[in-house]
């Protein structure tokens, strides 16, 4: 059999992009399959990286540039791998692609969105706001191409959109399509989802407006987010002057995620800085079991945040949350060092929810461990899992791991 020089990369987030460009720059063909209408994954939703506090977009831009300059990288958005058959060196892949209803003629002029009469919940911002049914996923979206949410844009909605587009870029006749690929190796980089707060019954089951998740706060703090970068409370838009962070919301808990999610302590430390930057008089309380800051520089970041007298660290896991009529949120905790069970009121509470590995279609044949993660050693030959599919990790470590997976897949393809 001829050498199969193609590598499939499931997931177009930071890990998948990295793995794909590394593979392509070594002369193989990389095919990225991304479920969202844009590439960049979770990193695209971030405001700043800890601990350097630089904007993630610079890292993403570099990867996008490498992709654009390399003809060996192909990518499919709104696409999901349904099935993979075969063996190492000869995998038959079935990919289902959902219609975007916007073709490559789109120039991103925004005319369709302006004309569109219907709205949809903006999942990029975790439903904190709405976008038009014809929308650009986010301001820095790559590809810079609009999408139409057909379930939100039916009948009467369609004509104004069509009429508004001067480039004949809108096509409501698009249908879902299925394509096939033959690849030599597969990189699993489907990434992670924030743990669903609805499963945390003692933390309000996701039912309180002013109890948000860390990723929601990340969107609020982002200039292109639902509040244009202002951290305000969702129920009434009030500036937040007293915010609590609930660490290990679902993590290190055998009833939920049995493992430490690695990033949540650092994310909350970063979020404390966001809040303190916006409101010089605001107070932040971080409730924790242990503050975990893995890495060389990360503990120093913790020490820096700790110097701020308005940021308090209280040892004790929050195990009760309730909402008052005015929208304030009361947390229930044992302050272990002070020795008492206390109820404390806050303007807003942030759940430091952890990372759950994304699930893959059954037909791909990837077993998950009882912890809900992918164990590299249980995968078939020619499959390589990356980053947060295997265990929670920050962006830097995911990128390192993606490079490692790229090398493994190159070896896999080359050695036959």
């Amino acid at each position: 059999m001829a050498e199969n020089k193609k590598v499939l990369v499931i997931g177009g987030g930071m890990s998948g992009l990295t793995a794909a460009v590394e593979v392509a720059e070594a002369g193989l063909e990389a095919h990225i399959v991304e479920k969202n209408p844009y590439l960049g994954g979770r990193v695209a939703q971030l405001n700043k990286y800890f601990w350097k506090l630089c904007p993630p977009n610079c890292g993403l831009e570099i990867q996008f540039k490498r992709i654009r300059n390399n003809a060996l990288v192909k990518w499919y958005t709104l696409a999901e791998v349904q099935e993979i058959k075969g063996d190492e060196g000869n995998f038959d892949v079935t990919i289902k692609i959902q219609p975007r209803y916007v073709n490559d003629k789109c120039v991103g002029c925004d005319a369709c969105a302006q004309a569109c009469p219907s709205y949809r919940n903006n999942d990029f911002n975790f439903g904190m706001n709405q976008s038009k049914a014809a929308y650009l996923p986010h301001e820095q979206a790559f590809p810079f191409q609009y999408v139409i949410d057909a379930t939100a844009c039916q009948k009467d909605c369609q004509k104004p959109c069509l009429d508004a587009c001067k480039y004949s870029a809108i096509d409501f006749a698009m249908k879902p399509e299925t394509i096939s690929l033959n690849v030599g190796a597969v990189i699993l980089a489907a990434g992670w989802n924030p743990y669903d707060p609805a499963k945390l019954d003692i933390l309000g089951s996701g039912g309180f407006k002013n109890v948000v998740t860390n990723m929601m706060l990340e969107r609020m703090a982002s200039a292109d987010g639902p509040t244009a970068g202002k951290i305000i409370r969702p129920s009434d838009g009030k500036p937040v002057k007293n915010v609590a962070f609930v660490q290990c919301a679902g993590s290190r808990d055998e009833n939920h995620l049995p493992y430490c999610s690695y990033i949540c302590c650092l994310a909350s430390l970063k979020h404390a800085l966001y809040i303190r930057e916006q409101y010089p008089d605001a107070k932040v309380t971080i409730y924790y079991i242990d503050i975990r800051t893995p890495g060389l520089y990360e503990p120093r970041f913790y020490w820096k945040v700790k110097e701020d007298p308005n940021v308090a660290f209280i040892k004790g896991k929050v195990a009760g949350v309730s909402e008052e009529p005015g929208g304030d949120v009361v947390v229930d905790v044992e302050d272990i060092y002070a020795g008492g069970k206390v109820k404390t009121k806050f303007d807003m509470v942030v759940l430091a929810t952890g990372m759950e590995a994304s699930s893959l279609a059954q037909g791909i044949g990837v077993p998950y461990s009882s912890d809900g993660l992918v164990d590299d050693t249980t995968l078939r030959k020619g499959f390589y899992a990356v980053g947060t599919m295997k265990s929670p990790a920050d962006v830097a470590r995911s990128v390192q791991d993606a490079t490692a997976a790229a090398i493994k897949s190159i070896q896999s393809v080359k050695r036959r």
Partner: protein, 418 residues
Amino acid sequence: MAEEKKEAQAVTAEATATPEAAAPPEPFTGVTVTPDLEFVDAIIKSGGESLKRCYQCATCSVVCNLTPSDDPFPRKEMIYAQWGMKDKLFGNPDIWLCHQCSDCTAYCPRGAKPGEVLNAVRKLSIENYSVPRFLGKAVGNPGSLVLLLAIPVVIFLLILAGLGHLNLESIRNAEGKIAYSSLIKSYYIDGVFVPVFFFAVASLAIGVSRYWKDMIRSTGLQPKGGIGSAITATIGEILAHKRFEKCNVTKSRKLSHMLVFFSFIGLAITTAWAVLYLYGYEIMHAMGKTPYSWLRGPSPYPLTDPMKWLANISAVMLLVGILMVMNNRKKNEAKAGKGSYYDWLLIYIIFAVMATGILSELFRLADLALPSYLIYFSHLVVVFFLFAYAPFSKMAHMLYRATAMVFAKATERDVEIT
């Protein structure tokens, strides 16, 4: 240690309240603990095998509806248990304020089962305060079960042999009926059970008073007068099973415990009633008077007698109650844990008391002499077990827990019970 802890509290309070305070707080110098590993091992062997999984997150203290807010349980008890800090645990009202709702166990992120660990600590606490100590150890040890059962077997066999009543088949009363009072006259039974009763009361009284003193010493709290009112309030609460209502995971326990509890009261009244029937009759007889017609004399009594109604109703309540206890434990096993030998010993003894009691009555009514007398004999054995070993078995919970509740009320460190 207590003082050092208060110092640590003060430091924390200051750090959060006035962060810009000029003088840096005295550094916390720590606490020296010598772990008592044997004690840790004893907890593990008594059903607390999960204790080392605890990582002190305090979820348990927060989800517990029975803990006082001030110095709540069971988080602190978990670390005392991990370090084998026996004195902190035995003289601790909180181990008994805990009713093992198992809300903590259900929500524990590590499967450390605080409910089960505290249950094991309670067992060791009963053992610690038991007089004599060897009985305390024996009741908690499965290896001693046969020996403990052998004691009443031998006692009652000796009595029967002495009376020449080993020919069970042919024992009948004057009317030719099966009568347990003809097998062993009540005086012999009472000759055993009255001393056993006083022994149990005395042993429990010593244990409870030691526990009370230890609580004062270990908590540094003093009862603020009004122990009488604390006792009254505690009794009221126990009768109404108020604390069980605050449990979430094991809500269903309230009814089963109530049934067992009130059937015991019913059976206690039955016993007193029977004593009156027998001894009232005998005393009047001895005084040369004609006993009142309602004083029925020696058993058996007809089923139409109100005393029998109470006895039979209580027996059925106990049967239903104890079966519910068993069923609840099985049902809640996944969330609350499977329970220990010590728990199941009491459950099975109560079940045996009830089963042998009911069967004695049924076989007697069916006029089956041998099974009747054999079952009645086992009934005496298990009743002896229940009462004589009450200060050392889980039965003692009724007094230790009540004492802790009185202490909590008297020292005004209690959860609000509504």
